[in-house]
Amino acid sequence: MKLAVNILAVCLSAGFMASVALASSVNGDPNRGGELAARVCSPCHGMDGNSPVEEFPKLAGIDAYYLLKQLKDFKKKQRESPIMEPFAAALSDKEMADVAVYFGEQKPAPGVVADASLLEAGKLIWQEGNSRSGVPACSGCHGENGEGDEYFPRLAGQHSKYVIAQLTQYREGRRTNDKNRMQAVARRMTQAEIEAATQYIASLQ
């Protein structure tokens, strides 16, 4: 009996560690998500989540948990976007989970670097931040190669224009759905640092 309990305890703790180590899974149906994406999301975000328009974010490969939270936040008006609010409001929780899982499974396409002369400065911000002004290294939360996780979005290859727009929203206090950490970061970044970091982000794969 004691052995059985011990084995159970080991299994449970191993299971718990796995759940911490792996991206938390969202229970959604990618096939139904794909159908919804084709009808609702693809005109802006692309059928495979690699949006062709710089103003709209690429969703491919972003963790489903993160995508689901954003959809819920749009619906609850906790993330401001006059474009996304009505679309999110029309989706049920189940539909949101389906599209989140679908886009999370898509293969991200490489980004476009508009100004390669900024990559070196961008890499410095990405890897080291700016300790004088208190800008943390982006890689700390978003991952060495911008791969992201369930709480911090994948940024690798993301459109620079979109990332700049988000950083601007954070800086101006219009985006607040991340417990305000990015507000603090964006306020400490200079415009030059933002331009450079977003070019480097576009270069990551």
Binding site: V20, G134, G140, T176, K179, N180, R181, A184
Partner: protein, 236 residues
């Protein structure tokens, strides 16, 4: 007059109702709690949140996941930065990590750089204990930055005379007493903190330390800081 108030009351209530939602949107600034400048200051006075955090059995597995949000500054191995902008945290005592984190949250230790990442909306009290448990278990890399090594004998003499009684012969600190390990800490960080403690600017400082180094010259601080930065951390 009464009549007027009753007429504008609904509008007033409506206005008040809108306030919290706007307030919630704003970046919270670090609060300010009384510290060394207040007459009745007692170092490490029992605090409800601290007791709760220290009473919680820290979970290093959860702590590791939470610590990710700190790595952008303190680095993945918690070794901090050579320029002393961010201290080495790896292997630090649990009580020290908990106290300093909570002092930043409550505004007893001024640090508006760190506050947004340690605020109550970001970390629960239990999270603080989990992060401390994780950091405490990490090996302390002795790759920290050091001083110029010019006055190490003087530094040693000062350390033995004034510092070792609390921070230990080898800079190992004291978990039970909330005294930090200073061994293998970055020299510029040690120098900066010692300076603001001497000058009464670090508001959560221990008065014993303010008195102990109150008469130190800049040269004394450099000598003792350099010596401390070269002390080796206890093996894990």
């Amino acid at each position: 007059m009464k009549h007027h108030i009753s007429r504008i009351l609904p509008a007033l209530i409506a206005l008040l109702l809108t306030l919290p939602s706007h307030a919630a949107l704003a970046l919270t600034h670090q609060p300010h709690a009384p510290g060394i400048e207040s007459k009745d200051y007692v170092w490490n006075k029992p605090d409800k949140e601290m007791e709760k955090a220290l009473g919680h059995k820290g979970d290093p597995v959860k702590g590791k996941a939470l610590y990710k949000g700190c790595t952008g500054c303190h680095k993945a191995d918690a070794s901090g930065r050579d320029d002393g902008s961010y201290p080495q945290l790896a292997g630090q005592h649990v009580t020290v990590l908990v106290k300093q984190l909570i002092d930043v949250r409550t505004g007893r230790r001024d640090n508006d750089k760190m506050h947004p990442f340690a605020a109550e909306e970001v970390l629960t009290t239990e999270d603080v204990a989990d992060i401390a448990a994780y950091l405490n278990k990490l090996p302390t890399p002795a790759t920290n930055s050091r001083g110029e090594g010019k006055r190490l004998e003087k530094g040693k003499a000062l350390y033995v005379k004034d510092c070792a009684i609390c921070h230990g012969d080898n800079g190992e600190g004291n978990d039970k007493e909330f005294y930090p390990m200073v061994a293998a800490q970055h020299y510029p960080y040690l120098l900066r903190e010692a300076r603001i403690i001497r000058d009464g600017v670090r508001r959560n400082a221990n008065m014993k330390m303010v008195k102990a180094i109150g008469q130190y010259s800049e040269e004394d601080l450099e000598a003792v800081g350099d010596y401390m930065s070269r002390l080796l951390p206890p093996a894990k």
